[in-house]
């Protein structure tokens, strides 16, 4: 497998603040890779270094196997979609999309053909004469995408491309971007802080925190087996408890179940801890129950159980419950 891009020991230091801390990262060719992490973890900074807008303080970045650490952005052949779209307000849609081709001295006829082709790919060929201001957010987004694709880049970079869209459009554009990626076969790097978006769209996901990479892999590998507590929390594992062997483990709320009764039930296929209901939140289909419990190490923990409301036992605040922790769903956490 060839690499679309590779970071080796890359850091970015602003004054006395290290925004990106010695990362090694390989972007596979022909796939969609997401950079996922909370605000300020260094996603945009990494992307800007890859695009050439920021020189790394340390380390090297290669693109398609060639060391490009010192290459200026205009020589990198990357397509970037900015969070603000950054369309040229004084140019029409077609001029926007054709700008990169013009810079590459593509002859006018060929340019017009490729502009149309790119606009058709995003379904906006009919708006080619409009000015960007006249377009809706979703349409501007597509123009930005067409503009980046028109130059047939080595790599397509998207910085939170969906965060300025409303919820419905966001879901729609996820599929759209996946489709375009599949049709063009481009390597895509997409930055997001939305775990659902990352899980749904990625071939490969890279989780970051405080300028460091926490875990990398396909969603199917990462989701069931988070490497550490940060990744688990970020992916929605709410419960952290020490197992009888003294290891920290985690389990998702929907995998816990509760029973009531005087006698401790048998703990077949897992363990049972006793607790008291602290809080109940009714969500229609679901019932979220917060339970104060004591884990195997004797530490007090708050557990969150996500029950199906119709089959949940009768509970009120203060009810004594047994929390069942099925072993098949318990994920051991290594690292911190």
């Amino acid at each position: 497998m060839t690499h679309a891009a590779q970071f080796r020991g890359v850091s970015q230091v602003f004054g006395d603040f290290t925004a990106v801390d010695d990362i090694d990262l390989t972007i596979p060719d022909g796939k969609l890779t997401t950079l996922l992490g909370p605000s300020g973890c260094g996603k945009t900074t990494s992307l800007r270094m890859l695009a050439g807008y920021l020189a790394p303080t340390h380390g090297t970045i290669s693109i398609a196997g060639v060391d490009s650490t010192r290459t200026p952005p205009e020589k990198r052949d990357l397509g970037m979609v900015f969070q603000s779209y950054a369309l040229f307000p004084h140019m029409s849609v077609a001029e926007n999309v054709g700008f990169g081709l013009k810079m590459r001295r593509v002859p006018a006829a060929e340019r017009a053909r490729r502009v149309t082709e790119s606009l058709e790919l995003v379904g906006l060929a009919h708006l080619s004469a409009s000015k960007p201001k006249k377009l809706s957010g979703g349409q501007q987004q597509r123009v930005a995408l067409a503009r980046a694709i028109a130059i047939r880049p080595k790599l397509l970079l998207l910085d939170e491309p969906l965060s300025n869209l409303d919820a419905r459009l966001r879901i729609q554009m996820r599929a759209e971007i996946r489709r375009i990626q599949a049709e063009t076969g481009l390597a895509v790097v997409l930055v997001t802080h939305d775990q659902d978006e990352a899980l749904e769209m990625s071939d490969e996901m890279v989780l970051m925190k405080d300028g460091r990479i926490q875990q990398q892999g396909a969603p199917q590998e990462v989701f069931p087996a988070p490497a550490n507590r940060f990744v688990a929390e970020f992916l929605g594992y709410e419960n952290f408890l020490t197992d009888p062997g003294g290891e920290l483990t985690t389990i998702r709320p929907e995998h816990l179940w509760l029973t009531v009764g005087e006698q401790a039930p048998s703990a077949s296929g897992g363990s049972v801890v006793s607790g008291v209901v602290l809080d109940l939140a009714y969500r229609g289909v679901d019932l979220l129950v917060t339970v104060a419990a004591t884990d195997a190490s004797g530490a007090r923990v708050e557990l969150l159980a996500d029950l199906r409301a119709e089959s949940a036992p009768d509970l009120t605040q203060g009810t004594h419950v047994w929390v069942h922790v099925p072993a098949t769903h318990v994920v051991p956490l290594t690292g911190d």
Binding site: Y53, P72, P73, K75, M80, F82, Q83, A86, F99, M103
Partner: protein, 265 residues
Amino acid sequence: MRTRHPIAASLAVLGYIVMLVPILFVVVTAFTAGSTLRFPPEGFSLRWFEAALTYTPFTSSLVSSLILAVISAVLALALGVPVALAIHRGRLPGKALVEGLFLSPLIVPELVVGLALYQQLMVGFGLDNFQTLLFGHTVLMFPYAVRVTGASLALIDPAVEDAARGLGASAGRTFFSITLPLLRPGLFSAALLSFITSFNNVPLSLLLQSRDFRTLPVVMLDYVQQNYDPIVAAISVLILAATVLVAVIAERTVGFARVFGGINR
């Protein structure tokens, strides 16, 4: 306007009277047929306009004023816009200090600047009065060039420039095909403000005048001091008309209040 603020409204009316009524009187007087500034005017004629337009000191100093205003406005922009770029886009240590220095001509009294340039550049350094005037007027307009274009530069999303680079445009190409076109309204405002400031300037032009190169306001001041006839009213009306024209152009292009009031509504 109906008002529920009688005191404020009376004060406002008084304010408008003080601001505008003397100008109206100049207009009325310019059309007199008589030869004094007497009010009410004696008859109607255009003779003073003819006189003003054929009076050589006025016409030649008008040309001087225009030359000086155009060249110094161009110089101020040519030198000031790069400074605004450096402040808003570049990596410049001490940005605040640099900006403060370029705005500082606003706070030193113009008469003091004029005296300084007269003493140090003309008397002390032997520059001729046109060169000294160019220095003075250019410097006086730096604040507009740097601040007005800086303000519109601050409104341009830097990502737009990054996008152009990413699409293959060099830094220079990006400046000319992206930044400059987007900056046009700001440049236009700055140019207009600079031009008007230079054209109307009295303190510098007064102290730095020479027999061969005097600006129109200075010549008018001299004339008013020695003669008491309506020719100055006529030239004033012509200046007024030209100023109205400039204001209308500004309104049509960028918006009058935005250019001259610094008001963003």
